[in-house]
């Protein structure tokens, strides 16, 4: 289900489009008829009150959930029932709202796991650590070390992640997603539970990834200041329905958004 090797998507074109998507769990409607798109190279924020359906939307994009209705088009190809590892193969990486790291591994190994799809060498060569497999391992280690430097986590790279404080765990998780060299990076509340300083660092990393690597980013975040600073466009969900879509300025002054956040009855 790899996207076709057609003409490359250039900056500003639509990379992903969500068309009239609905998802329900039994009786609960998590998402109802939502449409929006993500353009190549932008930082697209998805915001909304608790339970609005933001995480469900990310889960749809990377194939954990399959919507009952609607069309998802990624890199010009409409897809149905894509499984998460196919999405990863197509260039979609993500982090999770409640940090999902490989708890038994070091920070380095976690990030190395992000290279899984990039490693092509035969298992027997890998076991012996010789020939092309060794060269490949070295090359991947090199890429991973770059990411570790970029995220400024050199000191903790050998530490088992379960022993790291929450803020650093989130950073390692970002590193693992970056190691995939994704075209589309999905971040589910990357700054939740962080102090101001940690938030500033994380904001910096997100902007750098976007600017230097040209990675398109979909960002869920509750902190409005962060959203205003980072994002190019914002889509607002409430109770599974899209209530606004536009630049941070437009969204901020939108009456429906203000009502949703103040909890005005519908």
């Amino acid at each position: 289900m790899r996207a076709p090797d057609g003409p490359p998507v250039t900056s500003g074109d639509v990379l992903l489009s969500i068309d009239n998507v609905s998802l329900s769990f039994g009786g609960v409607k998590a998402i109802s008829g939502v449409s929006f798109d993500i353009r190549k190279g932008e930082i697209r924020a998805i915001i909304g009150p608790n339970g609005a359906g933001k995480t469900s939307m990310l889960n749809i994009i990377n194939g954990f959930y399959h919507p009952q209705q609607g069309i998802i088009t990624f890199k010009g190809e409409a897809r149905s029932k894509m499984r998460p590892h196919d999405a990863a193969d197509g260039g979609i990486a993500r982090t999770f709202q409640n940090v999902a790291l490989f708890r038994g591994m070091s920070a380095l190994d976690n990030i190395m796991a992000g290279r899984t799809l990039k490693m092509k060498r035969n298992m027997f060569w890998q076991m012996l650590r010789i020939g092309p497999a060794l060269a490949e391992e070295v090359e991947h280690r090199h890429r991973v070390e770059e990411i570790i430097d970029f995220l400024k986590i050199q000191e903790i790279r050998r530490t088992p992640v379960s022993r790291l404080p929450y803020g650093l765990q989130k950073r390692v998780e970002l590193g693992r997603a970056l190691a995939m060299e994704p075209e589309l990076l999905l971040l589910d509340e990357p700054m939740a539970g962080m102090n101001i300083e940690e938030k500033e660092d994380m904001s910096r990393f997100i902007l750098d990834v976007n600017e230097h690597y040209g990675t398109t980013i979909a960002l869920i975040e509750h902190d409005m200041g962060v959203v205003m600073d980072l994002s190019d466009r914002v889509v607002v969900l409430d109770h599974g329905i899209k209530i606004a879509d536009g630049t941070p300025q437009e969204v901020k002054s939108n009456q429906a958004v203000i009502d949703a956040y103040l909890g005005v009855a519908h």
Partner: protein, 310 residues
């Protein structure tokens, strides 16, 4: 005094080497349990299937004039192929469709798989006792200078120990060095995160069942040489349960050490306590030991502490 010590050593060594078999079966359980959270009741049946496929194809090839060494290689490959097919079918038709079901459902499904494998194996390959002669079945007498009569050590047990050691080292290298090994550890830690980096759960489950099948094949070669390949092999799997409780369900070293403890423990208990309480200790010793461990350390000697979140 010297005689008593010699006897003790002899019992201990034979117990440890017999324990290797328990370790091997328990190892198969642990691999599948770690990667998929499935308690695989069929592990014993897989040992039977591997053993039957091996011994029957070996007999067939030898009867048709193949030199013994070539027949052994071909028969091992054939048995490995059978285990691969089994892994594929189980993943495709049982566990794949049951993805995201709870542990009890999956456990029940492996009970079903057990009966199908047991029935299928005997239907395809026969249900007699088939002697297997891969290793010499006589014994060494060691340290005859230090102990009167020397220490009796059976060659099969030593072969079994060596093969198990090679297998364990091979598995360790596989887990540490290869992409697939790393992917297996990733899946064992977090299914969703593993999928998000591009690991296919179906593929990993096939791989673990295949590896567990190959471990079963190794267990079958040793067990089959000792007692002949026969249906009672499946009861070996029942011994693996106390081994797992002692070692911990999620620990590879735990499976190995647990097997050795049970093997040595039951032989020693039989030799030294047996005369006082009438023998037959071998049959229940492991379970009592498991019960004691369960009360003192519910997660097993090597298992991770299970902390319930509230």
């Amino acid at each position: 005094m010297i005689i008593a010590f010699g006897q003790f050593l002899e019992v201990l060594v034979s117990g440890l080497l017999a324990g290797v078999l328990y370790s091997l079966v328990a190892l198969g359980f642990v691999l599948i349990f770690k990667a998929s959270g499935v308690f695989n009741f069929a592990q014993g049946a897989m040992v039977l299937l591997a053993g039957l496929a091996l011994v029957r194809s070996l007999d067939f090839l030898v009867a048709n004039g193949l030199p013994f060494w070539a027949a052994i290689i071909a028969a091992l490959l054939f048995a490995a192929l059978i285990m691969a097919i089994t892994a594929f079918l189980v993943e495709r038709f049982v566990l794949g469709p049951l993805i995201n079901q709870d542990g009890l459902t999956l456990f029940m499904s492996t009970i079903g798989v057990t009966f199908i494998i047991e029935g299928g194996a005997q239907m395809l390959f026969g249900s007699d006792v088939y002697p297997l002669r891969l290793f010499p079945s006589d014994a060494w007498f060691l340290f005859e200078g230090s102990f009167p009569g020397g220490l009796l050590v059976s060659k099969i047990d030593v072969w079994g120990g060596m093969i198990a050691a090679v297998l364990v080292v091979g598995l360790a290298v596989f887990f540490q060095q290869t992409k697939t090994g790393r992917a297996l550890r990733a899946v064992a830690d977090d299914h969703a995160a593993a999928q998000s980096v591009g690991i296919s759960l179906n593929w990993i489950w096939f791989i673990v069942w295949l590896v567990a099948g190959l471990v079963a094949l190794v267990a079958a070669t040793v067990w089959g040489t000792k007692l002949g390949v026969q249906f009672s092999i499946v009861f070996l799997a029942l011994k693996a349960l106390p081994v797992l409780i002692i070692g911990g369900f999620t620990s590879v070293p735990g499976a190995i050490v647990g097997g050795l403890i049970v093997g040595a423990g039951e032989k020693l208990a039989e030799a030294y306590l047996g005369p006082f309480i009438g023998g037959g200790i071998e049959y229940w010793f492991a379970y009592v030991l498991a019960l004691v461990v369960l009360m003192a350390r519910p997660q097993g000697l090597f298992g991770e502490r299970i902390i319930e979140r509230i």
